[in-house]
């Protein structure tokens, strides 16, 4: 792509050089009709090379977006009833948020239902252990022994059932982690699209730069937006920066240096 467009621009530059020589000759020899025609040809050629390039980029962008929509992720995602509507990157990323949120909630549901089961087992076992100690020390009355005998039976049955519940909850938690695979694939696709679009935009900027240099347009430099701490940055991805603290300990150290 860049080869053909670059050559177009070299062509245009060459045409302009040739045109300038012809134009000078035409003006000097008084052939103004020819001079006007040369100017027109140059102008046309300038437009043509620019529009060719824009057309090329538009096509490439269109292709990239279409490829993205028809990608295999759609097939994976369309297992879900409503997910076939997911056709663009924003929806895909929203889908990632939904998937991760769903997984987190299911996992927490399972934990919420497991905690009381574990708590129940713990308190039952503690109670039994007290009496069991007394049994070992031969400190139980026959009546207490009969009660312990029954409670032990109940406890063993409960333990079996509780372990089955916990086992099934743990399995659900395990299965729920499958979101990582699916969201990973979606994010990889979106990343590819962004990289692709970036490449093409960089190319467009390079083309625009050449147009500017050819047409003599100058731009005022815009001030870059000030990076606002107040709005927040989200999690620090690049933790190499000395400005970013990497652990709670570092945060605590900084705060204590401030008198906290």
């Amino acid at each position: 792509m860049s080869d053909s467009s670059t050559s177009q621009f070299y062509n245009f530059e060459n045409e302009m050089k040739d045109g300038a020589v012809d134009l000078l000759q035409a003006v000097e020899s008084g052939n103004f009709a020819n001079a006007v025609k040369i100017v027109q040809d140059l102008s046309e050629s300038r437009h043509k090379s620019f529009y060719n390039e824009v057309g090329h980029l538009t096509r490439s962008l269109h292709d990239a977006i279409r490829d993205f929509q028809m990608s295999t992720v759609d097939q994976i995602v369309s297992k879900d009833d409503d997910a076939s509507k997911i056709t663009d990157a924003t929806d895909r990323l929203n889908y990632v948020i939904e998937m991760t949120s769903h997984a987190a909630n299911v996992t927490m549901d399972m934990i919420d239902s497991s905690v009381p089961v574990a708590g129940q087992l713990q308190s039952q076992a503690r109670e039994l252990r007290k009496d069991w100690e007394r049994l070992i020390q031969r400190d139980l009355s026959p009546e207490e022994f009969r009660s312990l005998y029954k409670r032990m039976d109940i406890f063993l049955k409960d333990t079996d059932e509780s372990a089955t519940v916990l086992h099934s909850n743990l399995n659900s938690i395990l299965l729920e982690q499958g979101y990582q695979d699916l969201t990973g694939q979606v994010i990889t696709k979106v990343t590819e699209l962004i990289r692709d679009v970036e490449d093409k935009l960089v190319h467009l900027v390079a083309v625009a730069g050449r147009i500017d240099s050819i047409s003599g347009i100058e731009h005022q430099k815009k001030q870059t937006d000030v990076d606002s701490d107040d709005r927040g940055h989200g999690p620090a991805i690049n933790s190499e920066s000395p400005e970013v603290l990497n652990s709670q300990d570092e945060v605590d150290d900084l705060l204590s240096s401030l008198g906290f």
Partner: protein, 130 residues
């Protein structure tokens, strides 16, 4: 430290609110309310009866740092202890939060132990001050 104190949890992600709520419950704090950013948190705070505020930083609408400043500037609210639980970990931000009057700062991802320690420390200081 009163285990029945009313705690407002402010975070835009319901998952994170739930995690914090569960951790607080494990620590014995069961009286919690939730809001999803500073804008929805303020009316709850102004209605009174909130004893402790746990807030994220990065939220749509009003951010946590803005909420912190608004609370500290409000005569009725300014003494509410505030714990920030956030992924924001830039040195300047932590300094800004300290200057705005935060009582504790926990960076995500965090542990149950870290949350517990910070809460205990905040109330130890408050009890010592009284």
């Amino acid at each position: 430290m009163d285990k029945n104190m009313k705690i407002l949890i402010v975070d835009d992600f319901s998952t994170m609110r739930r995690i914090i709520k569960n951790l607080l419950r494990d620590l014995g704090f069961t009286n919690t309310v939730e809001a999803d950013d500073g804008t929805t948190a303020l009316p709850i705070l102004q209605a009174g009866s909130i004893d402790f505020l746990v807030t994220d930083w990065n939220m749509p609408g009003m951010t946590g740092i803005e909420l912190l400043r608004v609370v500290r500037a409000d005569e009725k609210l300014k003494s509410i202890p505030i714990l920030m639980v956030t992924a924001e970990a830039k040195r300047d931000q932590i300094i800004a939060a300290a200057q705005a009057g935060v009582n504790g700062y926990v960076v995500k991802p965090f542990t149950a132990v870290a949350l517990k320690e910070k809460i205990e420390k905040i109330f130890e200081r408050i009890d010592a001050g009284n």
